[in-house]
């Protein structure tokens, strides 16, 4: 069975303008729209396309989080994933623990490919995929904008600071997605109903044998410093004059 494991994280929706709680304890999430992390949607889409090309038999989606994250797994099942794994915990997990839990899932599922988003848009850590690759001792291809699967290896185009880099990785491997890998499909209403009967298995960190000992404490969360309101100019001549006044030319 050629299997692809895709991970997803529930985050505050991309379009929400977030609000820092007045007591500095974090960002308000009550009553805020929550969605699949956009990079993880791209990961789901890529896995589905690989299966649709006949290069994989099964797409398994996994998440780690509170019980109601099931909703995001159901969305992924409606998009076309075959089955789902849910590691249920109310703790906010650090990336290393997420990677350790995923490593346990990988040992059980033995996937050909693990596809993750390159970062979650809430904590912007960008660590989990690389940590999983290190723990699993398998290749990683981060920031993928193109993925070609061969028999025993994959060719991945990566978006790096200097431009585009192409690497070959032996399978199984870990891939993290960048924005331009694909354009995710939309979920169709009948598929949402069908997804309700697809298998979804709940697990706990304890069952997976991973102890969670926090290494990092969030002391406070603040809004960023605001920039001073600027001036409006009416044409190019005024703009050049304003730049000159500021000593920028």
């Amino acid at each position: 069975m050629k299997r692809i494991l895709v991970t997803l994280k529930r985050v505050v929706d991309y379009n929400v303008r977030i609000r820092v709680k007045p007591d500095g304890s974090g960002v308000a999430t009550d009553g805020v729209k929550l969605s699949i992390n956009p990079f993880d949607e791209i990961a789901v889409e890529e896995a589905l396309r690989i299966r649709e090309r006949g290069q994989a038999d099964e797409v398994v989606v996994a998440t780690i989080g509170p019980r109601d994250c099931q909703q995001q797994l159901r969305t992924a099942l409606a998009l076309g994933a075959n089955r789902a794994l849910h590691v249920v915990t109310d703790e906010t997990l650090e990336p290393l623990y997420v990677a350790r839990l995923l490593h346990e899932l990988v040992k059980r599922e033995e996937p050909l490919l693990v596809v993750l988003g390159k970062q979650a848009i809430d904590d912007d850590n960008g660590q989990t995929g690389q940590m999983l690759a290190a723990l699993w001792q398998r290749p990683q291809a981060t920031y993928a904008s193109k993925l070609e699967i061969g028999d025993t290896s994959a060719r991945v185009t990566r978006e790096v600071d200097a431009g585009l880099e192409i690497i070959d990785v032996d399978l199984p491997a870990v891939v993290t997605t960048d924005l331009r890998l694909n354009q995710p499909r939309y979920v169709k209403l009948p598929d949402i109903l069908k997804a309700k009967s697809k298998p979804l298995v709940a697990l706990t960190p304890a069952e997976l044998g991973v102890a969670l000992k926090p290494m990092l404490r969030v002391v406070k969360v603040e809004p960023p410093p605001q920039r001073q309101k600027g001036v409006m100019v009416k044409d190019a001549a005024e703009l050049v004059a304003a730049l000159k006044t500021k000593g920028l030319l």
Binding site: Q140, D170, L179, V219, P224, R227, A237, V240, L249
Partner: protein, 317 residues
Amino acid sequence: MTNVLVVAEHDGRTVSSATARTVRCAAAIPNAEIAVVAFAANGAALADQIATLEGVRRVLLVDNALHAHPLAALIAPQLAEIATGCSHVLAPATTFGKDLLPQVAALLGTVQVSDIMAIETATRFRRPIYAGNAVATVEVAALPLVGTVRIASFQPAAAGASHAPVEHVTPTASLPTHTRFVSQTVAAGDRPDLQSARRVVSGGRGLGSAENFKRIDELAALLGAAVGASRAAVDSGFAPNELQVGQTGKIIAPELYIAVGISGAIQHLTGIKDARTIVAINKDAEAPIFEVADIGLVGDLFAILPELNERLAEVLR
């Protein structure tokens, strides 16, 4: 004493400005004793360059032909070995450092702090979250820690007259062959590097086509500026991916940032928040870019740019 190890980013010949900025960040850690490690192929000249950076006490050179193209799979096990006994392992939060360091954290079984923007104590840091719409202060329970450094938040360490000793290091870690470099396409061009440029001119969706995007190049050439782009411009194929500025692109801090035809999505604004002066040119007076702009100009960019170029040419002549 606090042993800080900085991982150098370089192109084989020159150490990056991002590395010099990471050294400056390392120097802000109380009682830091800074060593810089370079994984390079024929890196002697490179190591000498690093040795002159202010604050560097030792340079560790891991010379190996396999390091001609940096692959995290090869470097991480060696770096984890060299990092034994260090309190902090730092690298710039560029695609090089972001690709590499989480592997090292996992191999060391320790915590990573991503995108450090300020050092408060040896264990307490500030970092942006939610695309820079919030700033978190975090405290690690124990050292060692691994950290990537938000380079826009730090000035580069200067090259001084002193020369730190260079040691050759040969780690014993076995190197995997499961990951192989194939090729890299680097944009040709003589524009300054986007991440270290003092002036940047960026274009957005408002340019309308790759052909029109050349007007950004013209303005940049006049100012000696680097060229940037919004995600919309890159997604539409007006500009290559390496020019993208924002949460998932490059975070920059130039003295002058000129945004042309960019509406200013929050993901873009996070990439330019540290610019000294932001200029926005956009036809939509309600565009969010004007909320952060120091100088705003509402109008048709196709009418404004030719006149702006003309007037700038006069002033700069």
